[in-house]
C-alpha cells in the first residue's frame, strides 16, 4: 500500500489508472477527482473512506452549488416578489421535480422535503399513524431495522395503544418471508422496513414485502436511506405508500432528505408541524392549511441543502445507478473474498442479495480496537452497533466493524483495509 503522504494537489502514488478493472465502466480516476476530500491526507496518508453508510463524501458540484446559492442566490422562497426570491423558489422547486423523477413518483405534490429519513419516519408515524391507530392495531417492522425505524413506531404505539410486531431474520440476515406473511393480518395498519439494512447490507425483497403488506390492508413505509446511492428506485413500481431518502447518504448535504407519500394519503393526513409556509390563511379562530406538499413544510426549509440534493441527484444520474450498482457489486465480491483471508474474521450479514456493506468481527479484537488501528492507517470504518442493536443481538454480538463502500472506492481501498486488518492480527492475534 502507499504510505507516501500526499498534499491536496498531488495525486496519490501507486494507484491504478483509469478504470477499476471491474466491468462497470465507471471512469474511476476522473470520478475520484470530483471528490476534493479524497485528496486531503488523513494522518499523513491517503484517505481510505469506508464509512459511506454513515455518510458519503460530496462531489465538487454539490459543494459548489451550496456555495453558489449563498454567494449569488440567497433569499427566502415562496413569498418574495423580488428577483432573488423568485430565483431561489424556482431552484428549490426544480429539485422537487428532479426528486420526483429520481424516485419514480407520479406527482411533485407527493415529494416533501425534510431533514432526512429520521424526520420522515417521525412524520409518517405522527401524521399518518397517530390518527389512524388504536388499541389492538399493529405495526409490523423487521428485526434488521435502524433505530430510527423502530423508535418512532414505539412512540406512536405508546400514544395509541397499538402493538409493534417484529418479523424475524435468518442467519444470513434475510427477512424470513414466510414469517412476514404470517405476521401480517387485518390488524396490521402499517408495515415499515428498510430497503437496505445499514448494519448487515441485506437488500430486502421490497416489492414482495410491499405486495403482501398491501394485500393485508397495511400502508407500507420504506426507509430508503441506504438504497438511494446504490440502486435505482421506482416507487411507482414498488407500489409502496411512503418511501424516504437522506441527502447526505447519496453524495448530497446533511440536513436534507425527501419523503415520497401517495397523494391520497398525504391529502388525508394532518400537518406534522405548524408554522409559516404551511398555511393558506390564519386567523386566531381558524387556520386553513396550505396545499401539498407545502402543508408538510413548515418554516423556512433547508434551501441550500435542497439545491445541493438536486446536484447530488444529477451526479448519481450522470454516472448511472445501474453502473454504480455494478461497480459496487464487483467490489463487494472482491472485498468479501479478501476478508475471508483474515484468520478469525467472521462476516455478519451474508444475505444473498446484498449491498456493498461489509460487517464483521475479528476474534480477539474488539471492533473499537480494530477501528482505532485502522484509523491510524487513514482507513475510516465504523465500529459499534450501527444504531441497530436488535440486529446485532440477533447475531450474538454487541458490535461489529463495518466497511461500507461507495462509488469512489476501488480495489486499492480494499487492499489497504486488508493490510490494516493484518496489523490488527499482529497486535491482537
Amino acid at each position: 500500500m502507499s504510505t507516501t503522504p500526499i498534499t491536496p494537489e498531488s495525486t496519490p502514488q501507486g494507484r491504478t489508472p483509469a478504470t477499476t478493472g471491474d466491468r462497470s465502466g465507471l471512469p474511476m480516476e476522473a470520478l475520484r477527482r470530483e471528490f476534493p476530500i479524497l485528496r486531503v491526507p488523513v494522518r499523513g496518508r491517503r484517505l481510505v473512506y469506508l464509512d459511506n453508510a454513515a455518510t458519503t463524501q460530496k462531489p465538487q458540484s454539490v459543494i459548489e452549488a451550496v456555495a453558489r446559492y449563498y454567494f449569488r442566490q440567497n433569499a427566502n422562497i415562496h413569498r418574495g416578489v423580488h428577483y432573488l426570491s423568485m430565483e431561489a423558489t424556482q431552484a428549490y422547486e426544480e429539485v422537487r421535480e428532479k426528486t420526483r423523477r429520481f424516485l419514480g413518483a407520479r406527482d411533485t405534490r407527493e415529494i416533501v422535503f425534510l431533514r432526512g429519513t429520521t424526520e420522515a419516519v417521525n412524520l409518517v408515524a405522527q401524521s399518518y399513524g397517530r390518527p389512524l391507530l388504536g388499541p389492538g392495531d399493529e405495526i409490523l417492522i423487521t428485526h434488521l431495522e435502524h433505530h430510527s425505524n423502530i423508535v418512532p413506531w414505539q412512540m406512536v404505539c405508546r400514544q395509541t395503544g397499538a402493538i409493534l410486531r417484529v418479523a424475524p431474520i435468518d442467519d444470513r440476515g434475510e427477512v424470513v418471508l414466510e414469517e412476514w406473511k404470517q405476521l401480517l393480518s387485518p390488524r396490521t395498519r402499517i408495515a415499515a422496513f428498510a430497503h437496505v439494512s445499514n448494519a448487515l447490507g441485506t437488500i430486502n425483497p421490497i416489492r414482495e414485502m410491499t405486495a403482501l403488506a398491501r394485500a393485508a390492508g397495511a400502508a407500507v413505509f420504506i426507509d430508503g436511506a441506504q438504497a438511494a446511492a446504490h440502486t435505482p428506485i421506482r416507487v411507482d413500481e414498488i407500489d409502496c405508500d411512503f418511501y424516504c431518502v437522506s441527502g447526505h447518504k447519496m453524495y448530497g448535504p446533511t440536513g436534507i432528505g425527501a419523503l415520497y407519500g401517495r397523494l391520497e394519503l398525504l391529502e388525508s393526513m394532518p400537518p406534522y408541524q405548524g408554522g409559516g409556509d404551511m398555511i393558506a390563511s390564519v386567523t386566531f379562530e381558524e387556520t386553513v392549511y396550505n396545499e401539498l406538499p407545502h402543508k408538510f413544510e413548515a418554516g423556512t426549509p433547508n434551501i441550500a441543502g435542497t439545491i445541493g440534493l438536486g446536484k447530488a441527484i444529477d451526479f448519481l444520474q450522470e454516472h448511472g445507478l445501474e453502473r454504480i450498482a455494478a461497480h459496487e457489486d464487483a467490489l463487494l465480491d472482491y472485498g468479501t473474498n479478501r476478508l475471508r483471508e483474515i484468520e478469525g474474521l467472521r462476516l455478519v450479514g451474508t444475505a444473498r442479495h446484498k449491498a456493498a456493506i461489509l460487517g464483521f468481527t475479528v476474534d480477539g479484537a474488539h471492533p473499537h480496537d480494530v477501528g482505532t488501528i485502522l484509523d491510524q492507517e487513514g482507513i475510516a470504518v465504523r465500529a459499534g452497533h450501527h444504531c441497530a442493536q436488535p440486529a446485532m443481538e440477533r447475531f450474538g454480538v454487541a458490535a461489529t466493524v463495518r466497511a461500507s463502500l461507495g462509488i469512489y472506492n476501488d480495489k486499492d481501498d480494499i487492499d489497504d483495509l486488508i493490510a490494516g486488518l493484518h496489523k490488527v492480527r499482529e497486535l491482537f492475534g
Partner: protein, 148 residues
C-alpha cells in the same frame, strides 16, 4: 505504529486478553452496572468490604481491550485499599484521562500504562467506563452508570 504502541502497551494488551478478577461474585456488598451507549459495552463491578477495606473486587462483561484492561487493572490496584484511598485513585485516574496536564501519571503506579489513551479522545470513555461504574458502586447508586 508508534502511536498505537503508546495506546496498546503490552500490559494493556495482556490485561485485555487475560483480565484479572474476571468473574461474578457471590453476595457482594455492592454491585453496579456500567454501560457505554456509544458502543454497547457493558460491565458489572462487584465489591466486598471488610470494615472500610475493599477486601475483594471483581468484574464481568464485554468490552474492548482498553475498557477490559482498565477494569482489570482497577481490580488489581484497588484490592486492599480503603474506601477513601479508592476514591482518591478514582479521582486522579479520571483526571489523568480527562484533564491532561493536571494529573501526574507517575502517581498512579501501574495505572499509568493507560495514560496513552489521552491521545485518543474517542477512546477515553472506554478507559473510564469501569471507573464510572466504581463511582456508582461506592456511592451505592442503584441506577446503571453511563459514560454519557
Amino acid at each position: 505504529m508508534s502511536d498505537l504502541r503508546d495506546l496498546y502497551q503490552e500490559v494493556v494488551l495482556d490485561h485485555g486478553r487475560h483480565p484479572r478478577n474476571f468473574h461474578p461474585m457471590e453476595s457482594p456488598d455492592r454491585q453496579s452496572v456500567g454501560f457505554n451507549p456509544l458502543c454497547g459495552d457493558k460491565l458489572t463491578l462487584y465489591l466486598r468490604y471488610r470494615d472500610d477495606i475493599l477486601e475483594d473486587i471483581s468484574f464481568q462483561g464485554v468490552g474492548c481491550a482498553i475498557s477490559t484492561a482498565s477494569a482489570s487493572l482497577l481490580t488489581e490496584v484497588l484490592k486492599g485499599k480503603t474506601r477513601a484511598e479508592a476514591e482518591t485513585i478514582l479521582h486522579e485516574f479520571v483526571e489523568l484521562l480527562t484533564s491532561p496536564g493536571e494529573a501526574d501519571p507517575e502517581r498512579l503506579g501501574k495505572l499509568a500504562v493507560l495514560a496513552g489513551v489521552r491521545d485518543f479522545p474517542v477512546r477515553v470513555k472506554c478507559a473510564t467506563l469501569a471507573w464510572r461504574t466504581l463511582e456508582a458502586a461506592l456511592a451505592g447508586n442503584a441506577a446503571p452508570a453511563s459514560t454519557e
